[in-house]
């Protein structure tokens, strides 16, 4: 069974606040701040990964499950990165065209 702490609703609320805050930062990066597109892209990707981790850990309970469950979720993500890497030659050709 899962092994959860006592103050769960508090934890959910904190996660909710963090997710809202990160969303606000993301929107600000587009609408308010003027930074280089490449740097902005990196920030946005990092923020997206943070949001995904928060949702997976607290709303999908991975933080409190057996480690095997977290591996089941995480290892395909590594495979996803490999899938991205497999596409790099095509992407490089396309980038090179313009």
């Amino acid at each position: 069974m899962t092994d959860e702490p006592q103050g769960l609703p508090r934890l959910y609320l904190t996660a909710w606040l963090a997710l809202i805050a990160i969303t606000a930062i993301e929107v600000s990066l587009i609408l308010v701040f003027h930074i280089a597109p490449g740097l902005r892209a990196i920030f946005l990707i990092v923020l997206a990964l943070m949001k995904a981790s928060l949702i997976g850990a607290y709303y999908m309970n991975l933080r409190f499950e057996r480690l095997a469950m977290a591996y089941i979720a995480a290892i395909p993500l590594i495979l996803l990165v490999l899938m991205l890497v497999a596409v790099v030659p095509d992407a490089a050709v396309l980038l090179g065209r313009h």
Binding site: L8, P9, Y12, L13, A15, W16, L19, I20, T23, E26, V27, L29, I30, L31, A41, L44, I45, L47, A48, K51, A52, I55, G56, Y58, Y59, M60, N61, E65, R66, A68, M69, I72, A73, P76, L77, L80, M83, L84, V87, D90, A91, L94, L95, R97, H98
Partner: protein, 207 residues
Amino acid sequence: MTSAVGTRERENLGARWGGGRSPWDVGWPKLMMWLFLISDAMTFAAMLIGLWVTRLGSRTWPNRLEIIDLHFVAAMTVILICSSTTMAMAVYAIRRGERRQTVWFLAATIFAGLVFAGMQAKEWSHFIGEGARLTGNPWGVPAFSFSFFVITGLHGAHVLAGIVYLWAMADRVARGRSSAEGVEVAGLYWGFVDLVWVFIWSSIYLL
């Protein structure tokens, strides 16, 4: 055929795994939902990677801010985040045996899901009204509207299916015919819907 496992070890194995429990000691409903979600994640990932490669291959890409109201979509994102919170609270409630609270939180999640779907429909109709189609759009890059409709459409279908799923769960919980695990598994699906939206929102509207 002799087995490498002795008789006593076999009995212990049988005690631990007497049929119906999974090898990782995780209930099979949860494990199966996770496996389904991973496969679904692969589908969305393939679509998003396709979008990224298409964008790399496009000389230009329409300026989203001129076409889409970012505040509107940000509100959609916030609503989905809220629905994930109410879903987590529903799971917490049923774990404590509070059936009434569970149904309330499930209803709140369904409501948020319906609002999200309604807003997505409004966005689609505005987009179509501006001339966006699967085959082309006024902004010069056909792939823009095509990828938009396919990706948000697939996600929207997941939201609608999730609403039906949660509705059925709320009904079962109200009648006392659902286990806590059933609600938890439904919560995993809804969490996945939110999780995928994080990447769709970033890929289509922000990046």
